[in-house]
């Protein structure tokens, strides 16, 4: 169960090698989390992640999960929930894609969309139903500032996150009053392996900062969290720029 501060005792990460998710898990293990499920595509990195969290004192298990294989989500997640209540589901999987390449290769673009959007719709709905049955829990969805307004430089990724973001907001409304809390997290540029090849954007931040913001959001039962917080203002300004101006911005 979560305590009065929204701190979970059990955690299920979808996208078990995500650096943001692992920073969050470390932080939560330092508080109350004792049971961690890392769901992801089997790999040495997944096993290593489990080992590292285990060394912090949590009981960590891995489970094979592929966002692109929507048909399997019911079974895979069903097994996890059958083992006991999950207080927090962190939906962290996602791919950035390669915009230039993906524009030329529509099937690659579709994979980005299927991972970030339809994969998340499927896993999100399955997790939400399980949480609703247990009558409590939080679903934390890693969206992105990119969801707020499509940019020329990465609109394939941006549009998939926009879909995810809209989905998660609607799901939060649908679950209002059911004891289940949905929180949409919109980080800006976070220094992880996902962005390693990119040039750093202004207000760049760290996985640890995202973890801190998630912990705070859980305590406040927030519905939307920006990381860093200043992005809320920046994005609401950018959102209202005329198209012609926005297009010419060097972002």
């Amino acid at each position: 169960m979560k305590d009065a501060f929204g701190l979970p005792q059990s955690l299920l990460v979808l996208g078990g090698t995500s650096e943001i998710a692992l920073a969050t898990a470390r932080r939560l293990i330092a508080r109350r989390t004792r049971t961690v499920w890392l769901a992801g595509r089997p790999s040495p990195a997944l096993d290593r992640a489990a080992e590292q969290l285990g060394a912090l004192g949590a009981d960590v298990r891995t489970v094979a999960f592929d966002a692109l294989d929507a048909d399997s989500h019911e079974t895979v997640l069903g097994k996890v929930f059958a083992e006991g209540d999950i207080d927090l589901v962190l939906l962290a999987f996602g791919v950035l894609g390669d915009q230039a390449h993906d524009e030329r290769e529509p099937s690659a673009a579709v994979r980005v969309a299927q991972t970030n959007y339809t994969g998340a719709v499927s896993a999100g709905l399955v997790a939400a139903r399980a949480l609703q049955t247990q009558g409590h829990g939080s679903l934390v969805v890693l969206s992105s500032v990119a969801a707020e307004r499509p940019r020329r430089a990465n609109f394939i990724y941006g549009s998939s996150k926009a879909g995810l973001d809209a989905f998660a907001q609607g799901l939060g409304d649908a679950l209002h009053g059911t004891g289940v809390h949905v929180m949409v997290v919109r980080p800006g540029f976070v220094r992880t392996k996902m962005t390693a090849a990119l040039e750093e954007a202004p207000l760049a931040t760290t996985p640890e900062a995202v973890a801190t913001a998630i912990e705070l959001g859980l305590r406040r039962r927030s519905e939307t969290v920006w990381v860093p917080g200043a992005l809320r203002v920046v994005m609401s300004a950018l959102r209202h720029l005329p198209r012609g101006v926005f297009r010419r911005l060097p972002i």
Binding site: M1, D3, A4, Q134, G135, G177, T178
Partner: protein, 452 residues
């Protein structure tokens, strides 16, 4: 029975809401039926929801609102024994009993609790140092257990001791036989005095508590330096009839139960009303307005026992984020731990209204009953205070190291691995539950969180 509604449920602190089917049985049969059919996520009894944390909530399962079973069956006005349903409130009992010259044996800081909740948490009052906890005055009760059967449970049995303080986890209490306390009037004779600091406070309480049936100290945890732990002591007893002025209204109707209720605060209040500054002002004012010493003041019962009940829904002043109550006890001989904790809270500048310090007397046998002979301190803190989770964890360490414990009826955040040290009979409790309720029919969020 109308179809149960699935609703979000919280305790009095309004933190950690979870959804449950709320069922309000109107007969013992309906209660038994609800227990038999509560499904995989079990059920838990709920009284008036005055437990601060998650004791009377059950995510995804059933919550049995027992306030629909609130009959008073029999009162023996000669011996002062009472047979009533567990869902009746102490408020109602006072209305009915006072005119007959009887009072509840133990009352907490609010009279809006049920008899079932009083047993479930084995509550204590300002008279604990003399009268023990609620269970000491319970002669027997009827318990609806996991198999749907009803058992008559008497004193001195394992089931009695597991149920008193057992937080509803042994079953649903249906009826209770209680020994009452005789009174001549509905007024209290109260002595008030100020203590300049913590040492002064402890000395005064230790020296003269035995002279009073009821004793409590309101302590200002925002006071610092030489004023650290300054407090106002209010102690007294039921006023005897001859203490009331001849010819006064009170003398003519000595047993009339008088209460006042102000309007409730609106359901939604802005966050941040309670800051260090506003609370500091309040505490300062309150300390200054208290008399340095006043003897034998006559006060209505409600003013003495339940000042907060004058404002319905006062818990709303903490805003949406809710609040946490922290109550612990440390045994006599561990005053150093108490001093350290008070100093840390003051240093931390928690915007905490008057906290309550009290001396407990002998413990009662309930396995998870909270009181043990020693000092208990209770304080409210807004849940949104940054760093509070870690801070309270540190206080827990101090409490556990001093052989003390925190109160489950107030808890919403204790670290589970400290529980066994705080409650040495925990294993007995778990064993009894495993035998009595092998399928875990009775379960609450508290039980899940702390693996009770």
């Amino acid at each position: 029975m109308p179809a149960p509604r699935t609703v979000p449920v919280t305790g009095w602190g309004r933190t950690a809401p979870t959804a449950a089917r709320l069922i309000r049985p109107r007969s013992y049969e309906e209660a038994a039926e609800a227990v038999r059919t509560c499904g995989a996520r079990g059920g838990i009894a709920r009284g008036l929801g005055r437990a601060y944390g998650d004791a009377a909530q059950n995510a995804g399962g059933a919550v049995l609102d027992m306030t629909g079973l609130d009959r008073i069956h029999a009162i023996d006005a000669d011996t002062g024994t009472l047979l009533c349903d567990a869902g009746v409130s102490l408020h109602r009992l006072m209305e009915v009993l006072l005119p007959l010259g009887w009072f509840v044996p133990v009352t907490p800081g609010t009279r809006y609790v049920t008899v079932g909740g009083a047993i479930g948490a084995d509550i204590h009052g300002k008279n604990h140092h003399v009268s023990g906890s609620f269970s000491r005055h319970v002669l027997s009760f009827e318990l609806l257990t996991a198999d749907g059967g009803v058992h008559s449970v008497g004193r001195g049995t394992p089931l009695f001791d597991a149920t008193c303080g057992g937080m509803g986890l042994t079953g649903v209490i249906l009826t209770v036989t209680l020994q009452l306390q005789p009174v001549e009037t509905a007024l209290m004779s109260v002595d008030t005095e100020r203590a300049a600091d913590l040492d002064d406070l402890l000395a005064r309480l230790s020296a003269t508590d035995h002279r009073y049936r009821y004793s409590v100290a309101w302590i200002d945890l925002l006071a610092r330096g030489v004023s650290l732990g300054r407090a106002v002591l209010t102690r007294g007893d039921h006023a005897p009839l001859d203490a009331l002025p001849a010819g006064s209204r009170a003398r003519r109707r000595p047993l009339a139960f008088r209460t006042t209720r102000l309007p409730a605060p609106p359901p939604v209040l802005p966050e941040g009303l309670l800051t260090r500054r506003t609370v500091g002002w309040f505490n300062e004012l309150w300390y200054r307005k208290a008399p340095r010493a006043r003897m034998g003041e006559l006060q209505p019962l409600a003013a003495f026992f339940h000042p907060l009940d004058g404002v319905p829904h006062w818990n709303r002043i903490y805003g949406r984020g809710g609040f946490v109550q922290y109550q612990f006890v440390v045994g006599y001989g561990h005053e150093d731990a108490l001093r350290r904790i008070v100093a840390r809270i003051s240093e931390r500048r928690c915007p905490s209204f008057l906290a309550v310090l009290k001396r407990f007397g002998d413990a009662d046998p309930g396995w998870l009953s909270f009181p043990l002979p020693g000092w208990t301190l209770a304080l409210d803190i807004p849940a949104g205070l940054p760093g509070l989770a870690a801070f309270l964890d540190e206080l827990d360490e101090e409490v556990a190291a001093a052989g003390g414990r925190v109160y489950l009826a107030k808890d919403s955040r204790l670290r589970p691995d400290l529980l066994a040290a705080m409650y040495p009979r925990l294993d007995d409790f778990r064993d009894l539950r495993a035998r009595l309720d092998p399928h875990g029919v009775f379960v609450s969020d508290l039980a899940r969180r702390l693996a009770l």
